[in-house]
Amino acid sequence: MLQLNNITKSFSGVFEPVLKGIDFSLEPKDFCMVIGANGSGKSTLLKIISGEHKPDSGKIKRRGLISQVVQDVNRGTIPAMTLLENVALSQMRNKKPKFSFYSRYKKEVMKKIEALNIGLEKYIDQPLGALSGGQRQTIATLMAINSGGQILLLDEHTSALDPKMQVTLMEYTVKSVLEQQLTTMMITHNMEDAIRYGNRLIMLHKGRIVVDIRGEEKAKLNAKTLLSLFHKYEDQSLLSGGENVH
């Protein structure tokens, strides 16, 4: 589904490479959590996968379209357009556009918004910008899942929300990913989420994958083990003089 071979990436003005030889692959329907300290290369890795950045060296193979949700809700939506228009746009992604009225999507979009279960269906003809940040991010997630991609990349998509909204959005995300059988990579700083969800977990440290847990081992993972893994690497880097923030 997705295969990366020996990917390296540096940015001008940054001393150390951000990614140093990443070998990584995902099977269809994998749900992989990605953790690591700030500057460990998580976001860069996702941007390489999405094609936003080109690697300096190494090979990347992807099968299928990529959808993504990032922390900044304005990047994944059009606030000046209505809910219907936003979701309809995601629905027609990479299809040949027609000269038919997009109001034909209304019923279908209404159902999808109702399924979110946060009472947004009455705002279907309101501009998205009028909703709260959490509501908009939920719609952005719906749009990404709705847009026909087989690979879903989530970059801390719940982190700007209040705790209650975080849980709601996370539950919706997981439910949809399983229903639609998407192959997913999710960056998170939330250790509970990292433990509870997904069938795989990788940890990045200074541009390398230092932990890769999958299957049964992932299912058995608990907070104590994860934290000790996290500290093992991060404390080392504190002692040796900090991380390579870019």
Binding site: G76, I78, A80, E85, R93, N94, F99, Y102
Partner: protein, 282 residues
């Protein structure tokens, strides 16, 4: 203020609204500040006047004007897209060049069309009706287009280009389409204007972009532009109101030579009012 002045203002306002629609498309849907109108409007007039003096029927003369002015719009978009020239600069450079082209087309600085039968007659009410029909023929298809899949994707280009690209929307193609429409509308307005005044002067349309912008922005100040219907109503309403304000100012003794200062002030005041209240760009 006499009824004649009001009717004449209505007539001029309807033509100005066509220009305002032409300005609205790149400014509001493509986030492309386009000043090509300054050249495509007189280009339309020059082509139409020249065609009519050689005996061409007014309708094909208008269609040819629309086509040529539309192509001029495409040139502006290509200069911006291919050479990364600032949109406004691209428009102004082409408009300056259009002045020479217009003189070449016309062969002289002005053409009188008193002997040529145009679309318009002596009766101002019928003339207004003709313009209303033309406007319906323009705005209705535009309104319908904007409600289709293609129209929705077209609008996305200006509102969030990077998002639009991720949706597989062709930014270049849509920009070229939008600038063709904008240029074509300006050319149409120019060709209608020379037929109404039975006269074409190469200096026609200096500052026309500011008049059109004034119309668009006054309309948006009155009805807003937060829904599609309001956005589509704004150029028409604004152009009519603006033309009447201008008529009132003239009847109160404003010298015609002071009009451009007056118009510029209106544009600045409307921008200042809107920016004071909420986020808004020209």
């Amino acid at each position: 203020m006499s009824i004649d002045l009001v009717l004449n203002g209505l007539l001029q306002g309807l033509i100005l609204s066509i220009i305002a629609y032409g300005i609205m498309i790149p400014f509001r849907f493509l986030d492309f500040a386009d000043l090509t109108t300054e050249g495509s409007y007189p280009l339309g007039g020059a082509i139409c006047a020249t065609c009519m003096t050689i005996g061409l029927h007014p309708v094909p003369a208008i269609l040819l004007s629309i086509l040529c002015s539309g192509i001029m719009g495409i040139c502006t978009s290509l200069i911006h897209l291919k050479f990364r020239v600032n949109t406004m600069l691209a428009g102004i450079v082409l408009s300056t060049m259009a002045y020479s082209v217009n003189l070449r087309i016309m062969g002289k600085p002005n053409i009188a069309l008193f002997d040529c039968a145009g679309l318009f007659g002596q009766n101002i009410l019928i003339n207004i009706l003709v313009l209303c029909v033309i406007l319906v023929m323009l705005v209705l298809p535009l309104a319908l287009f904007l409600r289709t899949d293609r129209g929705l994707r077209f609008r996305a280009v200006g509102l969030n280009p990077s998002f639009a690209e991720k949706q597989g929307i062709d930014i270049k193609q849509n920009t070229i389409l939008g600038l063709f429409l904008a240029g074509g509308l300006a050319g149409l307005a120019g060709s209608l204007m020379v037929q109404i005044q039975s006269y074409m002067d190469v200096g026609m349309g200096i500052g026309i972009i500011i008049h059109g912008l004034a119309g668009l922005m006054i309309g948006e100040a009155i009805v807003g532009n937060h829904t599609m219907n309001r956005q589509l109503l704004a150029p028409l309403l604004g152009a009519l109101v603006y033309q009447q304000i201008q008529g009132i100012a003239l009847s109160f003794g404003l010298a015609p030579s002071d009009l451009k200062f007056f118009t510029g002030s209106i544009v600045l005041i409307v921008i200042a009012m809107q920016n004071g209240g909420k986020h808004m760009k020209i």
